[in-house]
Symmetry: none
Subunit: 204 residues, 4 copies
């Protein structure tokens, strides 16, 4: 029997998660303070702690929520189409994630920089499995002569790098261009450029 969560509980917990995502994205799990999170969530610190007993608990929930969305994105790698279709679709999904979950992406980046003490246990072997599936598909393409020979794992890293960059370095990008992925034209342009380079870079 699962715990009943009243309407207000769900709303407030989500408020905390959203605020926490923003703050953890900026300052990391250690640098972030409950005060900051409570402030951004628009509630008092003790009230926040009524919903999540400890800072760690908030961090965990933030990580988990982001992870779920991220895994969903990762798993939707469509293996049925041609390499061009598959890669285009994958890059599209990753870009969408970067735009819609920029802060979450940065929380991940931070967690990884801190040595991923939590993520490792949350992910376990899941990521490895997903990656193995993806690289297998790429290997197949190469064997079938559909794309240029390239180390599959590095192709994946390249895609991740480019798509996540727009989320993780949005501050820098905004300084240089005045734009973020929230800007529709900029988003299209960024996605188009990245897709072009990568596709042309591997397709025969």
């Amino acid at each position: 029997m699962q715990k009943k969560r009243s309407r207000i509980q769900i709303i407030n917990q989500q408020k905390v998660l959203d605020a926490g995502t923003e703050i953890f994205a900026k300052y990391g799990s250690r640098g972030a303070t409950i005060d900051q999170i409570a402030d951004r969530a628009g509630m008092s610190k003790p009230n926040l702690l009524y919903y999540f007993k400890t800072k760690k608990e908030i961090y965990l929930a933030v990580l988990e929520q982001t992870l779920n969305k991220w895994l969903q994105c990762m798993m939707e790698w469509q293996v049925t189409g041609t390499p061009e279709e598959t890669l285009t679709d994958y890059i599209d999904k990753k870009f969408r994630f970067s735009r819609d979950h920029a802060a979450g992406s940065r929380v991940f980046a931070n967690e990884i920089q801190e040595g991923a003490p939590i993520l490792k246990t949350l992910l376990g072997e899941n990521l490895k499995k997903l990656v193995n599936e993806n690289t297998s598909v790429i290997k197949g393409w190469i064997k079938d002569g559909k794309i240029h020979p390239v180390e599959p794992i590095h192709l994946l890293f390249t895609i991740w790098a480019v798509t996540q960059h727009y989320a993780d370095f949005s501050a820098q990008i905004e300084t240089l261009t005045g734009k973020t992925l929230a800007d529709k034209d900029f988003y299209k342009q960024a996605k188009k450029s990245a897709t072009q380079i990568i596709l042309r870079g591997v397709l025969k």
Copy 2:
């Protein structure tokens, strides 16, 4: 009259900078503690504070030192050669920076995620100027029909993204491959893959 710096001073200050770089890379400017830095530097906290009066001073020095090395790397963009030569050389330099200054790169990444409050003043318009120079060159190549038309700034972002990814996400990469850029073969493979994709992606 500038302060005399004895031999031991120079050595110890560098010890602190190295330790600080590692710790700030992991935990950000707020999350890092002087204790951790002193510990890694192998000196007592008060002794460390004899060399740098405050935590902020350490952070600033770390940032500045990394910035100098980074700017040097950025400015060595050789505009004389062909696009192929120029890009190959640039990617090579960025990869070398990622390998030799992985922690510094992560300090940057953190600083940018925190909103780059210090970097902005340290960089001022320098980065914009550099970027403008680079994009001008790329625009010239396109106009001359030497490379496919791409948004120059996004090409730059792509290169940065890929090259920095190996430094900033080394923890994740190590989990998945068991390797880091410190591994010679892995380094070559990564650089080769990235270079291939990007060059093929833009060259005609």
Copy 3:
């Protein structure tokens, strides 16, 4: 006009008093928390506070309830009989109190250790008067040559010490013997031993 107390009110207030006695006995007036008491009383914290407005109020009520029972016990010192009868009866009553109100006895012990800030005002001169009456009786016995000469107050302390020990140190006693005063045989044995020693110790 006194407040009407409904049936449920009386029941719940007693629940709180019982739970409070247990918890205050373990952790003292400061160390005990309303949460613990509410938990043990099987009601929510706000509901508990509907019956007693503050923690102090609970503590006071617990103390007062125990005090009443204790005074009743103390006042039933039967002066009419022989020393043997009187002491036997007194020890019996004190033992019964220890058995039936072990937790209450420990609440007292705690209160006294904390300096008895409340008890002092609740007791006022009552205890002194009672003690004076008792010591007078003992003095009479001595004068009449009925018992060995002994400082009356120390005889009282001895009786209190032994009888209360079984309540206040029941945890230790249980560790060593596996028994408590709730065990009928153990209770008889303890009372018999104590009575024997004390009676033989003072009777001629």
Copy 4:
């Protein structure tokens, strides 16, 4: 190689232990606050925490220090002499402990009331062994017809009860008599009365 402890460290740690003993005696492990302890020790809270990292650590050290003194007292049960000599000596030692370590005795009393979560592990089977040795001796006396038949364990409890009572209930005793064991005459009187009653209570 054991940690070096400078002179001032030893002094300050002892200051904390003494203050801690007093405060824990009054308020128990939960009710006591670091502020109170620091206050009584005459040092600032952070400075106190420089010597003992947590409140629990102080509590443990207090308990351990008292335990050592207590065990020493318990183990000096001189089995060589007559029952009269042995018991007199034992009561004397227990009284001295009550006088010299009254606060420590109350810390114990509190710890036992809280269920002795720490003491149990610190003591382990030690106390049981000690008690078994003592009761064996008493059984021998009874078999040899040297003392009246009594349950040995209850004789021990009686002695403990009376001797500890003067420490654990010193507040009450002071209220009633205006004296504590620190008063030489009162100490002698108390010890004499207790010894008389108990000896006469068991010796033939």
